[in-house]
């Protein structure tokens, strides 16, 4: 800390203890930091830890379901496993990892020195981090009453009235409610920060129409988060009122409405899918052009499609409720709204294809993960169209077909792009390259495991297997498919271990990256790797969407074409 430059103290660093040890200084520095890059990395590491935890939960479930009438875990433990797996993956893996990348990248890509509200940023991270620990603390403290369970077991969408005190005694549901509520506060803070940063912190010359697509998509994501997370928080508070202050919002025994909870939850829950998937699209928008060596095809169309998805995503929530007994009019409306969202989504896929068309495609690890994403997202979108047809959903809803569909989105599309983002930006964050050889092992093993698990998972759904059952009858013809599904988990586990090993080893032994290892075009590659705490010594000025292209190709700069 003796070497601390004046610039970092201007950026808001508290001076470290004068007489502490060096280890203490490091810890103190990370805990008190308001630097967007450090907060971003903390978000990512925190999410990776929970990814491993929730992955282990998934593995335990797949062991239980590998054969019919298995007794590997008790019904109660199984119900906790799927509740914790879902809640963790959505709130403590998906959101933090995407916010982590956003935090790290947005200021760098718009030529800013930090987020608009650095202290709010630190607050958002720490409250999110606390909420994750709170959720898992329920394993020790959730019971509270004789006969009550420990961890939450109400499912990740916690349908009323299963959450009422009569059906869920003890405190497990309270841990779920409060941790989700707190993580929502963190998410709202970060969303606010991203909106403010994009609107007010762009460097000179960076008009909205020149902003990197990643930043555009994060901007739209954050606007969706604003609108969608508020009803979730409201619902959690109403649930607490029901449980402890005698409210009857969702308490059906006292005239409350179970369907009301569903509306509240899904008006958050469906936009949440887009909160998670738009950042994945954002990564693809940066990675696919660089490894195809071409500018993104149809930038204005990509922006409009994103904004379109943002708006339509607010009007499709009841497609999660086709089986709750809506009238035919409502069913038809939500069928149409849901199908319409396929149009802007299709535009995106076609634009990515057109970007690759005529390019010079380099199969580096970030790109092969992106190609995997394109293929799998296509399938996920098409099974989504099937589920949008309400009568088809009367059969497939709440079956393993749905589980396969949304894992195709969450794993096949989002997680694949998160892996791609790791391989692409890890050099920027650490100054070291990840091993390409291990990266390819990771990719191929994960692809094999993914397709074994999630392709074959559609079939038991078609054969009538509902989700969230801890075991199943032997005579339904589901056993062989479940065995294949479970076997895929082994490949995914090995692949993930290779990935984590690669992250750790490359940090110490990876090839030195240099500022611009991919010959890329956006501003984050114009500063050193890792960037100094002030990001840019001199605030950059841009004249096009690809400022580094202009520098590298003065003979045909983008400015001529925009």
């Amino acid at each position: 800390m003796v070497t601390q430059t004046p610039v970092t103290s201007i950026a808001g660093h508290a001076p470290a203890s004068q007489h502490g040890s060096r280890a203490f200084d490091v810890v103190y520095d990370w805990i008190t930091t308001v630097d967007h890059k450090k907060i971003g990395i903390m978000y990512i590491v925190y999410a990776l830890i929970f990814l491993v935890i929730a992955g282990i939960e998934a593995l335990l479930m797949r062991v239980q379901l590998a054969v019919p009438n298995n007794t590997f875990v008790s019904p109660q433990s199984f119900n906790r496993l799927f509740t914790m797996h879902g809640t963790t993956m959505v709130f403590f893996v998906g959101m933090p990892i995407l916010f982590g990348f956003g935090n790290y990248l947005i200021p760098l890509m718009i030529g800013a020195r930090d987020m608009a509200f650095p202290r709010l940023n630190a607050f958002s991270f720490w409250i999110s981090a606390f909420s994750g620990f709170l959720l898992y603390f329920s394993y020790f403290a959730g019971s509270g009453l004789y006969g009550a369970g420990t961890a939450p077991d109400v499912g990740w969408f916690a349908y009323a009235p299963l959450t009422a005190r009569v059906f869920s005694p003890g405190h497990s549901t309270d841990y779920w409610t409060l941790s989700v509520l707190l993580s929502s506060i963190g998410s709202l803070g970060t969303a606010l920060n991203i909106v403010a940063t994009t609107l007010s912190m762009r460097c000179p010359g960076m008009k909205l129409s020149r902003m990197p697509l990643l930043v555009w998509l994060y901007f739209v994501t954050s606007c969706i988060a604003f609108i969608a997370i508020s009803p979730l928080s409201a619902a959690q508070i109403m649930l607490v009122i029901d449980r402890y202050l005698g409210g009857h919002f969702f308490d059906t025994q006292a005239g409350g409405s179970a369907v009301l909870w569903m509306h509240f939850f899904w008006i958050f829950g469906h936009p949440e899918v887009y909160i998670l998937v738009l950042p994945a699209f954002a990564f693809a928008n940066e990675i696919i052009p660089v490894f195809s060596r071409k500018a993104i095809f149809g930038y204005p169309a990509m922006v409009s499609a994103t904004v379109g998805i943002g708006f339509i995503s607010m009007g499709v929530w009841a497609h999660h409720m086709f089986t709750v007994g809506l009238g035919p009019g409502a069913n038809a409306f939500f069928t149409l709204a849901t199908m319409v969202i396929a149009v802007p989504t299709g535009i995106k896929i076609f634009n990515w294809l057109a970007t690759m068309w005529g390019g010079n495609i380099h199969f580096s690890t970030p790109m092969i993960f992106s190609i995997g994403f394109l293929f799998q997202f296509l399938v996920a979108g098409l099974t989504g169209v099937m589920l949008a047809a309400a009568p088809f959903d009367w059969q497939l809803g709440n079956s393993y077909f749905v589980v396969a569909h949304f894992h195709y989105v969450l794993v096949g599309a989002i997680l694949f792009m998160i892996f791609a983002a790791f391989y692409y930006w890890y050099p920027k964050m650490t100054g070291r390259m990840l091993s390409e050889r291990l990266g390819k092992w990771h990719f191929w093993l994960f692809v094999i495991g993914f397709h074994l698990t999630f392709d074959f998972m559609h079939i038991p759904g078609i054969l009538g297997m509902p989700r969230r059952i801890y075991t199943y009858e032997a005579d339904r013809g589901w056993a062989i498919w479940n065995m294949i599904v479970s076997s895929g988990a082994i490949f995914q586990t090995i692949a993930t271990l290779i990935f984590v090993y690669n992250l750790v080893v490359s940090y110490f032994k990876g090839a030195v990256a240099g500022p611009d290892p991919w010959d890329a075009w956006t501003l984050e590659w114009s500063t050193s790797s890792p960037p100094p705490s002030y990001n840019f010594a001199k605030t950059p000025t841009v004249e096009s969407r690809r400022p580094l292209w202009d520098l590298k190709h003065p003979e045909e700069p983008d400015t001529q074409y925009e």
């Binding site: 019904p75 009323a160 069928t335 309400a390």
Partner: protein
């Protein structure tokens, strides 16, 4: 089943082996694909709960729609995935490529317009086909001859009430078979006594949620006599997995006989009087009803005609002396987490009460 899969795998491997001639390869690939699709079709048709093996009107019209949707989606998949594959292969980086960047193309309004308009047209078709099935299923005219059954979901079992017939039963639903020329569908009026459930018998109809404080309806019209299986499709608590559904579609004669049997008060066999005393003097009566006795409980299944059913514990195990005894002793033997407590009866009382319940035909 596994033999069939082996054949498919062998065919698939054979398809990959001879790569010498393109045409030969294409032919074997076609065989491999055929083997696989035959295998899949066999599997999908074989399961007793496959949505692709409909036995009633709602399931059949959904099946028709799903084939259309599947065909359109499969076509889109083949076209787009083919484009992706072609692009990746055709425009891959080759070591011989020069260092020059490829020509930069920033977009094209005509192209953007075409891949906006074509999906819109596809969606119009899909939506109209879907809307038709939504309305024909949800607003189907109700024939005079329709039977009405009240379905009440309970934590981990189903209660069925036939209001016009004065019948109350549990877990095994009997309905008349419906002749398409003279339809006798069964309308289910559904609600829940506790948490959310969902009634799903895939070969008969799509699922409908069973929600407390809300009344939903659906209808089924099995066109062949037989047993149709399903299970609760909305997570409802610890034993959601063993809340199974059994629907018996009876011929008119069978159905009339079943009604007659169920309308009789419970049999009071003299041989089982000791077990009856055990039943009536224990906590059983708080939750269970046996018509014609002092047992009027409604938290658990009506046992007046228990022995006429093929299963206990909501379809979890077959009904026989041994299983019933083990279930009364401790329901956790079959359904850990079920709400019925372990009764802690002496062996003697356990035998007696089991014997009594087995007489309730």
């Amino acid at each position: 089943m596994s033999l069939c899969m082996n054949q498919a795998v062998v065919k698939g491997l054979m398809a990959c082996a001879p790569l010498a001639h393109a045409s030969q390869f294409a032919q074997s690939a076609r065989h491999g694909a055929l083997g696989l699709s035959n295998f899949l079709a066999l599997q999908l048709g074989q399961s007793s709960t496959s949505i692709f093996a409909p036995e009633g009107t709602p399931a059949r019209s959904i099946f028709g729609l799903s084939m259309l949707v599947l065909a359109i989606c499969a076509t889109i998949f083949v076209v787009v995935a083919g484009l992706l594959l072609f692009t990746v292969i055709r425009y891959r980086h080759r070591p011989s490529d020069s260092d020059r960047e490829p020509p930069q193309i920033y977009g094209s309004n005509q192209v953007e317009l075409s891949w906006t308009v074509i999906p819109v047209l596809i969606i119009v078709v899909l939506f109209l086909a879907t809307a038709r099935i939504i309305f024909t299923t949800q607003q189907a005219p109700r024939p005079k001859a329709a039977l009405n059954v009240v379905v009440i979901g309970h934590q981990y079992w189903w209660e069925y009430r036939y209001p016009k017939l004065g019948i109350v039963t549990a877990n095994e639903l009997h309905v008349p078979v419906s002749d398409p020329s003279n339809p006798t569908p069964t309308y289910l009026t559904m609600s829940s006594a506790d948490t959310d459930h969902s009634f799903w018998v895939p070969v008969l109809a799509g699922k409908m949620d069973v929600i407390p404080n809300k009344i939903n309806t659906m209808w089924i019209d099995p066109d062949k006599p037989g047993l149709y299986l399903g299970q609760c499709a909305q997570y409802c608590g610890a034993q959601h997995a063993k809340m199974l559904i059994r629907v018996y579609a009876d011929t008119p004669a069978e159905f009339a006989a079943w009604i007659k049997d169920q309308q009789h008060p419970a049999l009071q066999a003299a041989s089982a009087s000791e077990g009856r005393t055990v039943f009536l003097s224990n906590a059983c009566v708080n939750c269970h009803t046996v018509s014609g006795t002092a047992a009027h409980g409604t938290f658990g299944p009506d046992l007046s005609h228990l022995a006429s059913r093929a299963t206990i514990a909501s379809g979890a195990v077959p009904l026989n002396q041994q299983n019933l005894r083990a279930f009364i002793d401790d329901p956790a033997n079959f359904k850990p987490g079920a709400l019925m407590p372990a009764m802690h009866l002496s062996n003697h009382d356990l035998d007696a009460v089991t014997q009594y319940l087995m007489t309730l035909r």
